[in-house]
């Protein structure tokens, strides 16, 4: 057989049928659902009298609408009636269709893309979908994982398959060793700056190179998570010893003889030597400094040591106009040093950076220091288990002593859907994934960065080079 890529191996192994219209009917191994993008899918099933084909291959958890305070009252404690209705609807739909559901009160509740890997649901070689674009996160385990719309959620519930046209393959190699203080978030932000938010359109990205292999599983998840911000359908990293060691013993991971069989299969998944890609990009990681976005698109990013760019230096008139509009919205001046930009809020959390390792990194900066008096700062663990583990290490105390608020798990201030949001004009140092206009609240201004950098910004009261705090 000709050499194949990791992506091709997973694709081929899940083809139920090659269809006349050129699509492949792709089998879906695991389906994650949350409360925002599933209610209309269940309504569709009900209207057409269809059943859920594989309830046990599905896992539901509420995250987008879940409040991060006052959780003792459970669902009844959600003050927004519309948010409460969505969380209630998820529970009722799961009960009706016999779908495993991690309820809001469950210790395991959290952001769906933190919960999946944490429970061992996410495994190499799988196809995984969810009605959420950040499903790409699960690619860190060598699973083909991508976000879908609600009609497709209904399709997967009813058939456990999706008709898909095969995406193109794009290998991005990050070579060399990043400098100390450069994190996975900096690598992916830099990469998006280099290839643009449409650079990966139509593609499944396979991340490769020493800088990727050196990342922990948490770091790999951060990189794969933001594949969608590069426009890609999915991001993939070949599984290795770190992947297996992460999964071993997790509740939903294979056990005993199954574990041995699974391990043998997983070890066969890496791209073959000589496999070819539709496109290849090589980026040197050796000189990537901590990154911060300055504009309203994730590609509008510079090193923290840099300056706000001058629209006059844009490549063409259209980009000049876009950059100027971004500066106007963000309330910034061309040429301003990034470290002169004062912030009002800091947000540490999200499916991009809400895992234990992220909280440890932020706590290392916060330890023994104080949040600037004009800044309000939130730390929101990605799941109840992350929160519990962080508390066992005393991270909650480090944050609280420094003046950060220590919250309950959820999507929180990533998307302005629950109570956590920016007020108009407020500027936030955020570890989330999107700096779109209004993403964190109408009129809010978002600067994306790593957990270390967000903690440093909270303490300094302005965007800061976290390397000076370590």
């Amino acid at each position: 057989m000709a050499p194949r890529t990791l992506f091709a191996k997973i694709w081929d192994a899940h083809s139920v049928a090659e269809q006349e219209d050129g699509t492949t009917l792709l089998y879906i191994d695991r389906h994650l659902i949350h409360e925002v993008t599933s209610p209309q899918a269940f309504a569709g099933l009900r209207a057409s009298g269809r059943r859920v084909r594989a309830p046990q291959a599905t896992l539901a958890v509420p995250d987008h609408n879940v409040p991060t305070t006052e959780r003792a009252a459970g669902i009844a404690g959600i003050t927004d009636p519309e948010s409460r209705l969505q969380v209630e609807a998820l529970a009722a739909n799961c009960a009706e269709f016999a779908i495993p559901h991690i309820a809001m009160e469950d210790l395991r509740q959290g952001i769906v893309h933190v919960v999946g890997p944490e429970q061992g649901l996410t495994q190499p070689g799988m196809t995984i979908v969810c009605g959420d674009s950040h499903t790409s996160t699960h690619g860190a385990f060598g699973a083909l994982a991508f976000g879908i719309g609600t009609s497709e959620v209904e399709h997967v519930l009813a058939t456990q398959t999706l008709p898909q046209r095969k995406p193109r393959s794009l290998r991005i190699s990050l070579t060399g060793t990043p400098p100390a203080g450069t994190t996975a978030k900096d690598l992916i932000l830099h990469l998006i700056g280099a290839i643009g938010t449409a650079g990966g359109t139509g593609a499944v990205i396979e991340y490769a190179g020493e800088a990727i292999r050196a990342l922990s599983m948490a770091g790999r998840m951060t990189v794969c998570n933001m594949s969608i911000e590069a426009g890609a359908r999915a991001g993939l990293i070949a599984p290795d010893a770190k992947t297996y060691s992460f999964l071993e013993g997790k509740p939903l991971a294979p056990k005993e003889s199954d574990w041995q069989a699974a391990l043998a299969y997983w070890q066969s998944l890496a791209s073959d030597a000589g496999a070819t890609y539709d496109q290849e990009i090589v980026l040197a990681a050796d000189e990537i400094a901590p990154q911060v976005t300055w504009g309203t698109s994730p590609e509008e990013v510079v090193a923290v040591t840099g300056r706000v760019p001058d629209p006059k230096a844009a490549r063409d008139a259209a980009q000049e106009q876009t950059w100027q509009a971004s500066l106007d919205y963000m309330g910034l001046e061309a040429g301003q040093a990034m470290t002169e930009i004062k912030i009002d809020r800091a947000f540490i959390g999200s499916c991009t950076n809400g895992r234990l390792e992220d909280l440890r990194a932020a706590a290392a900066v916060a330890k023994g220091r104080k949040v600037a008096s004009h800044v309000s700062a939130l730390v929101v663990p990605g799941s109840g288990l992350v929160r519990q583990a962080a508390e066992a290490e005393g991270l909650d105390k480090v944050f609280k002593d420094a003046g950060f608020e220590w919250r309950d798990p959820g999507c929180s201030m990533c998307l302005a859907m629950n109570a956590d949001k920016l007020a108009r004009g407020e500027r936030c140092a955020s570890t989330s994934n999107r700096n779109f206009r209004g993403r964190q609240g109408p009129g809010g201004r978002t600067h994306l960065m790593s957990p270390e950098m967000a903690a440093a910004a909270a303490i300094a009261g302005a965007i800061s080079d976290a390397r000076k705090f370590l």
């Binding site: 219209d21 209610p39 209309q40 057409s48 987008h64 879908i148 009609s151 058939t159 449409a198 426009g231």
Partner: protein, 199 residues
């Protein structure tokens, strides 16, 4: 799903790149368990000032408040996978979006809802279309002929055959897939033997 065949309408010009789905419909409008009624949230932060007053955004201005065609720049619909974006467009009355290019998930979501996404890679044609739209000229789209016409321009657009047929018939994709139920079941049997840990 309502079939899509032909459409003639004035077209709203939104000459911007990277219009994201948070802009098309902000997250605070996603707190619904229904598909209908989302038009009120369409481009909410561009159509309304903070005080609630209407802006001069193109969809607020007659005749474009009745436009069934929206014309944009590159990478339209990037960001969140929310299908509420095409639902909001549809609820407002938009049946066709023309852009230099589309984000993948948004494009899939359009087809699932009877909205025709047309990519025009040729910059000069797209610029001429924006100008014609701004003048309030009518734009015609024929899916059977795969043509978009305005003024004296005729543009032949590309679309996958399967997508085109599904739109023309308003076909239920789930019913089509379920006609292969035997093959799905056979796949599941094979997988249960080869990869028992997935059961």
């Amino acid at each position: 799903m309502k079939p899509f065949k032909e459409l003639t309408s004035c077209a709203a010009s939104l000459p911007r790149d990277n219009v994201d789905t948070d802009a098309i419909i902000p997250a605070r409008f996603l707190k619904t368990i229904a598909r209908a009624g989302l038009g009120a949230g369409l481009f909410a932060d561009l159509r309304r000032n903070p005080d609630g007053a209407a802006t001069d955004f193109v969809l607020n201005q007659p005749p474009f408040d009745k436009a069934e065609i929206l014309i944009a720049g590159a990478n339209f619909g990037c960001g969140s996978s929310r299908e509420h974006a095409p639902w909001a467009l549809l609820d407002f009355g938009i049946r066709c979006v023309v852009a230099a290019s589309f984000a993948d998930i948004f494009r899939n979501n359009c087809f699932a809802n009877g909205i025709l996404p047309i990519a025009i890679e040729d910059a000069a044609t797209l610029a001429a279309l924006h100008q014609a739209a701004e003048r309030g000229e009518e734009v015609s789209v024929s899916l059977p002929d795969k043509q978009l016409r305005f003024g004296n321009h005729t543009y032949a657009f590309a679309i996958e055959d399967g997508r085109r047929e599904a739109l023309l018939e308003g076909r239920d994709a789930i019913a089509t897939t379920l006609s292969r139920e035997n093959e799905i079941a056979a796949f599941e049997t094979r997988r249960a033997q080869a990869q028992p840990w997935l059961n």
